[in-house]
Amino acid sequence: MWTFFHKLASPPHFYRLAKTLIPWFAVPGYLLLVYGTYAGLFLAPPDYQQGDAFRIIYVHVPAAYLSMMAYMILAVAGGIGLIWRMKLAHAVAASAAPIGASFTFLALATGSIWGRPMWGTWWEWTDPRLMSELILLFLYFGYMALRGAIDDTAKADKASAVLALVGAVNVPIIHFSVEWWSSLHQGPTLVREGGPAMDTAMLYPLLAMIFGFTFVFGAMLLRRIRTEVLHRERRTRWVKDLVLAD
């Protein structure tokens, strides 16, 4: 079992493995997105309160979920990189940050567009859910800026891993913000006692979108890791052989 992990952590091995894995993420991912988009727009009934405006949930919820998921990957990979001195883990964290930041921005933007007609406001500066998600975006920005500011890769890896671990405390705060404090934002619809509070005709397209987003995220992450690994190992034998072979 340990040999499997040691092999997994080897950059050339992972570089090849990622290439094989990408279609296994991308193909089901895009299929789920096509089904989820169609079913979300045309098969799901309008909501009893919000009418057709609720359909933005099919982008908002997957984006918000991945914004937190990507940050957990950042923190866990950073921790593994610090403890086991695994270079590949740092490459994973570095690759995940811009994708996570994009999903955070998407969650904030769709939430704002949804909030204007339903709540009556684009943005509320004192709302705990809105603020904790905005802090997440700034954490991603800080993480990427810190990486960019340090030329030495090993030092950049260590410093940014510490920042990722410190910021991880924000992720549960985002999730529980609507339960701990009063917020304009609704409580959880899917992960709650008594099961999802949603008609199945609306729920299945949402689950398809969540899994579709996740698979596509996986494919994007693997592609970015491949590039990151190549860049980091650019002076090694195997990369030179790879280039010469072309």
């Binding site: 009934p45 309008p46 909501d47 009893y48 309160q49 919000q50 609720f54 949930i57 921790g79 610090l82 403890i83 086991w84 001195r85 007609p117 339903m118 709540w119 009556g120 406001t121 509320e124 004192t126 709302d127 705990p128 671990l165 410190v166 991880a168 405390v169 705060i173 701990w180 404090w181 009063s182 917020s183 304009l184 609704q186 409580g187 959880p188 619809t189 709650r192 509070a197 949603m198 008609d199 005709a201 609306m202």
Partner: protein, 156 residues
Amino acid sequence: MKARQQRMLAVGLAVVGLAIAAALTLRAFKDNMMFFVSVSEVAAGEYPKDRNFRVGGLVVEGSIERDPGSLDVTFTVTDLRCDVAVTYTGVLPDLFREGQGVVAHGRMNNDVFIADEVLAKHDENYMAPEVAESLAQHVDEQTASLQEYDTECGKS
């Protein structure tokens, strides 16, 4: 202890320490983290008197009165224990209706909340209109049982 185990311990302790620090900070600022105060807190006088604040609750059935000549509207907000009267001038969000959760921003003036902004809340339930209609009867029974809530409300 090996170097790797030391690093593991350091990272673990740092994460736990941060979590505790964050929890204590959030506890200390609990009241400031609230987006709105409840109607009961307003009725008990537990609200900021020197500045504007937000109050959240449900719009009482049949309490909405619109002035035909202007955008003035008055309604009552409840948390099923206490009531507070609200006056507002302006455009209300689409979701504003009887029984809906709303958050009003403004200040108290002689037991009346003068709002300068009214926002609507929606809950975590999503369903088709037909399903909502068949549920409505059940909900009516539920609200009927909650009619006698005024008893323990300490109005000042």
